[in-house]
Symmetry: C2
DNA sequence: ATGATACTTTGCCATTTTGCCAAATATGTC
DNA sequence: GACATATTTGGCAAAATGGCAAAGTATCAT
């Protein structure tokens, strides 16, 4: 377990990889999904109801999140349940709260 | 001081705002810049040397970061120094480290 | 094996965004 | 005024985006 803030990125690949993770989070629907998963797993149908888009669209959003390791999926019967892989992601959201009070 | 992970986003505007912050971080050069600023302030020329792009390009990257509140600038003489506004951003980077060990 | 349910993948699309530079424009110093 | 530093603007080709519909896949029940 590393102490936070002590490690820095170094290689070009690391910068790109970090950027990719952020890019996966750069869409409101995907943020909404991640936010929902913070409370526990949800199946695709539930998430579809949440974001109010076509299920194929939601599935695509989920695959974006999965491709960078933000979520995992687990099939149970005909349903597929998605889970947040990293609790730390929520600290990150918490951190964002502070950004609201920005003028300038 | 709120406990992390207890607050959730709610409104459409909040989701969009969070997404915008992530989008600002979705570029390798900008991640590189933020990473550098974690060690302390730097002027534009220094950051330009770091990322090896035209100074106008770097200035644009900085304005993206500034527009979402990630950095602040302070003019001193002819130079402009940039600073990370939120230390919590580095925890966020730390969190990303764990993502490296992803297969699937 | 037929059908139903739940999800994924693919193809397609118009539109938007990106990332970069060069040139022009501040802004401050000497 | 000349110089140094940084920002803004305009332009551009290329890439990414976000959405849906249709077709495909997997699992279960009858």
């Amino acid at each position: 377990m590393k102490a936070c803030g002590t490690e820095r990125l170094k290689t070009k690949a690391e910068f790109r990889r970090a950027a990719d993770v952020f890019k996966a989070l750069s869409n409101p629907s995907r943020v909404m999904i991640v936010n929902a998963l913070a409370d526990g797993e949800h199946c695709v149908a539930e998430l579809t109801a949440l974001v109010q888009l076509d299920i194929s669209t939601v599935s695509n959003h989920l695959s974006v999140l999965r491709s960078v390791g933000i979520v995992t999926d687990e099939r149970r019967g005909t349903q597929v349940f998605y889970t947040l892989r990293k609790p730390c992601l929520m600290n990150l959201f918490c951190c964002l709260d502070d950004f609201h009070s920005n003028e300038k």
